[in-house]
């Protein structure tokens, strides 16, 4: 029997019971859809993910891309799987009908994508990068760029990358040195080196479009002088046919711990001084445009981390249910039949911990995707505005929290399998290795912490932060009347006050002691706020479970009981952490700030 790698029942719970995704069909943009079309599309995703992605997840890990005679070679299953993904229409699904899409809500799109992420995160990375790059071109490209590059990107002939990092500049984009020289023909000639470029070179598609950050000669220093360029691997003629090879060379492949199926490249642009590139939008606004891509990518990273955690949880759950081992402490008879692992309380603790992390992270990710839909298409302007604010402040949490705690879930999955979990015969070690990338890429979690505390908390005079607190308060007020939830509403209320107090104290520090002290413990602030947000998401899930439990029976009733128990775990074992974290923050603890290099 195949062990499931994702949970459709829980997907339906979050999508329909918690978020009410069907209501989106009342919006004009989504009017062609219904619950039936959503379900039918999810079934297609499930079929392709199971038959064509999950089937080579291990093989892709064991056979990473290699350079042979200057070309990147990837196992054939990757191209075949992406072919099915593309032919089904997932590259264009959320786009307008005139672009070949079906105007699928982003939340349903993300639900579909989450299945692919659980099935094979490294293969699906290629189309995901392409989708994100196409979104940037659609949002900021010229009409000519859209006409020339979007159609092949939406039908799979051309893939996309994002090229930000340089060997000497990773998190610090202000220090990038790739330069662009304008030419009389209107294009630019690019020169520089980029590092860790996923999907930078391969034979999976006819062409590749790199979105590259670079400085136009004479641009202001720092991030205000960064522009965004479109650099095709092969030139594209006006009629859409491919022209000559552009001056983009692979200088090497990176050999990674996980995500091995996704080729990671070091690229040299303009070695021969003929790397033709095209400016996207206006000069010096590249970072703003790229963050359009990055923000979506960050939600995607969070979902990917949640799904890798989820796949590990489901595997270890199945293992714990079928592996007889030992006897309960109360049974002293060595001849007695061993019990299944799941009978041991400590194993149940590890399962419950995983469940609380991954189902919480999953619900948060889909909620963020639902906010994207509301922000873009809700008829009410105030709803659009509020959802935009929530999305702004939640993005660093949606990226960072699942990538920290999805990994912790994978740790526990390995622990449950014991020695077997540490071997390559079982998939949980691969999930762990794959997931270890997520706290690093698309902005490290340290960068996310600075983004949250340094930018998002204070943006629009604190409007986004206030909107988040108001949303949490609304949930508390709605849940208060339910006796089962009363204890948790009180605890969440206290945690809310704790976070609010710590934030106020930090903002006071900002005025008195400056930005260094203010941001000194930003990572702890991210973790504390993340826990608050996850507790809120869990209370929302528990509220739905409570309402539905009365009329539920059989497996549904057990499902809702499981939700309440996981919520209980989160509130008893996890949420209290915010109080000591808040204490450290309120005390303006300077331990890390004062530490000196030569003391190590």
């Amino acid at each position: 029997m195949t062990i499931p790698f994702f949970d459709r029942r829980n997907m339906n719970f979050v999508l329909y019971e918690m978020l009410g995704a069907e209501q989106l069909t009342s919006y004009d943009y989504y009017r062609e859809h219904s619950r039936e079309t959503f379900d039918a599309i999810i079934e297609v995703a499930e079929q392709i993910a199971r038959e064509h992605f999950h089937s080579h997840n291990v093989k892709a890990d064991k056979n990473e891309p290699v350079m042979i005679d200057g070309r990147v070679t990837i196992i054939p299953e990757v191209k075949e799987a992406i072919g099915h993904f593309t032919e089904a229409g997932f590259l264009a699904s959320h786009h307008r009908e005139d672009l070949g899409g079906i105007q699928l809500p982003w939340v349903v799109n993300q639900a579909c994508f989450s299945i692919f992420q659980a099935a094979n995160i490294s293969t699906v990375a290629y189309p995901f990068l392409t989708i994100a790059a196409a979104n940037v071109i659609e949002a900021f490209g010229s009409e000519e760029q859209k006409a020339r590059y979007l159609p092949p990107m939406l039908d799979g002939r051309c893939f996309g990358t994002m090229a930000l990092t340089e060997p000497q500049a990773g998190s610090s984009l202000a220090d990038i040195t790739t330069t662009a020289v304008p030419t009389p023909e209107g294009h630019y000639l690019l020169r520089g080196n980029k590092m860790f470029i996923s999907g930078g070179e391969h034979e999976l598609s006819e062409n590749i479009v790199h979105l590259v950050l670079a400085r136009i000669v004479g641009a202001p220093p720092g991030v205000k002088g960064i522009s965004l360029f479109l650099v095709p691997r092969y030139q594209v003629n006006p009629d859409g046919s491919l022209g000559e090879h552009n001056d983009v060379a692979v200088s090497g492949l990176l050999h990674k711990m996980g995500y091995r199926g996704t080729v990671s490249t070091a690229l040299n642009f303009g070695e021969n001084n003929r790397c033709v590139s095209y400016l996207i939008g206006e000069p010096h606004k590249g970072l703003t445009y790229m963050f359009h891509m990055m923000n979506e990518a960050r939600i995607g990273v969070g979902m990917g981390a949640a799904m890798l955690g989820y796949a590990g949880y489901l595997y270890s759950l199945d293992y714990a249910r079928t592996r007889p081992q030992g006897r309960l402490p109360s049974n002293k008879d060595p001849q007695a039949r061993p019990v299944m692992l799941v009978e041991h309380t400590d194993v149940r603790r590890m399962l419950l911990q995983q469940k609380a992390y991954v189902e919480g992270a999953y619900a948060l990710g889909l909620y963020a995707a639902w906010l994207v839909d509301q922000h873009k298409y809700a008829p009410d302007e105030q709803i659009r505005k509020n959802c935009g604010l929530l999305l702004d402040i939640l993005t660093p949490i949606v990226k960072a929290w699942p990538s920290e705690y999805g990994l912790k879930a994978n740790y526990q999955a390995i622990q449950i399998l014991g020695g077997y979990g540490y071997t390559r015969e079982y998939p949980v070690e691969q999930y762990y290795r794959d997931n270890r990338l997520n706290p690093i890429h698309e902005g490290t979690n340290g960068i996310q912490a600075i983004d949250l505390l340094g930018r998002k908390v204070t943006m629009f005079d604190g409007a986004a932060f206030k909107r988040l607190l108001a949303a949490i308060t609304e949930t508390i007020e709605q849940a208060k009347s339910e006796p089962v939830l009363k204890e948790w509403t009180g605890q969440l209320d206290q945690a809310l006050t704790t976070v609010e107090t710590a934030t106020a104290a930090l903002l006071e520090t900002l005025g008195q002691e400056g930005i260094e002290t203010y941001l000194a413990n930003a990572s702890l602030y991210l973790e504390m706020t993340g826990h608050l947000v996850l507790a809120w998401i869990w209370l929302r899930q528990a509220s739905v479970a409570c309402r539905r439990m009365e009329s539920a029976s059989g497996s549904d009733q057990k499902f809702y009981r499981g939700k309440l128990q996981a919520c209980r775990y989160f509130f008893h074992w996890e949420l209290p952490k915010v109080h000591y974290q808040s204490q450290i923050l309120r005390n303006m603890d300077r331990t890390c700030l004062d530490m000196q290099d030569d003391w190590f």
Binding site: E36, A40, V44, I48, E51, A88, F90, I102, L104
Partner: protein, 260 residues
């Protein structure tokens, strides 16, 4: 080219069990799917339409819920769907089924090619395709593994044989049944799913196809199923115990008589 593809909704074989008391198929709670051979028939038709042009019509006989497989066929590239459904069709054997389908095909009319799966995985008779051709009075060939080429006047196919294959050429109309080797059925597209959900499915009742009541359903079925039973387990089984070396020793002893 106007192509009719016959599809059947069948219980998913991996879920089917026999009721130990009645020895009949226990269908309750068993998921229904499109007969796997019919998926290949559909793919062959859609691929042919994509190269030669024309129209693909999917035809099924079954209860109202058989609409599901017709919608799946529409999402995979069929242009329209016809469900032949009437209480009086219940209990039909292959004789009555091929008669009923032939009436529906005549009602659709003006066809060039009919493609069926080699057999259905629930009955496993492989009779309906040939039976349908005989009823219609058109030529047929079974177990087609490849369509080599087709134009307005003729179609050339490969028929799978025990060793090798035959190359056959036919004019129109003609009926083929296909084996799984012929192609890899495509996954439905998202646009196809959207279209299929909204599509109108044509319904034919017994009266619509002017069926002779004595030729349909149970009363029109000469076949009598006397008994359904699971086959007796063949041969004896042995499970060895002891250390690995001891078990290997026992195994060698056991298979020695059969070794050449």
């Amino acid at each position: 080219m106007k192509i009719i593809v016959c599809v059947k909704q069948v219980p998913d074989a991996k879920d089917v069990k026999l009721d130990p008391v009645t020895n009949t198929l226990a269908r309750e709670g068993v998921e229904s799917i499109m007969n796997p051979y019919d998926q290949h028939a559909l793919e062959a038709a859609v691929a042919l339409k994509e190269t030669c042009g024309g129209e693909v019509i999917v035809l099924s006989m079954g209860p109202p819920q058989a609409e599901e497989v017709l919608r799946l066929a529409l999402s995979c590239g069929a242009d329209r769907a016809v469900l032949v459904s009437d209480r009086s069709f219940a209990g039909a054997d292959t004789w009555a089924t091929s008669y009923t389908l032939s009436r529906a095909v005549k009602k659709i009319g003006d066809y060039d090619l009919i493609i069926c799966g080699k057999q259905a995985i629930d009955g496993d008779t492989a009779q309906v395709g040939p039976g349908l051709a005989m009823r219609l009075g058109i030529p047929y060939a079974t177990c087609i593994q490849k369509i080599r080429n087709a134009d307005d006047s003729a179609i050339v196919v490969e028929r799978m044989m025990d060793e090798g294959y035959d190359v056959l050429q036919s004019g129109y109309p003609v009926l083929f049944t296909v084996v799984k080797d012929i192609n890899h059925p495509r996954v439905p597209s998202l646009k196809g799913k959207m279209k299929a959900k909204k599509a109108e499915i044509t319904r034919f009742s017994a009266a619509d196809i002017d069926a002779d009541p004595s030729c349909i359903g149970l009363s029109g079925s000469p076949t009598q199923v006397v008994k359904v039973f699971p086959p007796e387990p063949r041969g004896e089984r042995a499970i060895f115990s002891g250390t690995v070396d001891e078990q290997v020793e026992l195994l060698v002893e056991k298979i020695k008589p059969y070794l050449v």
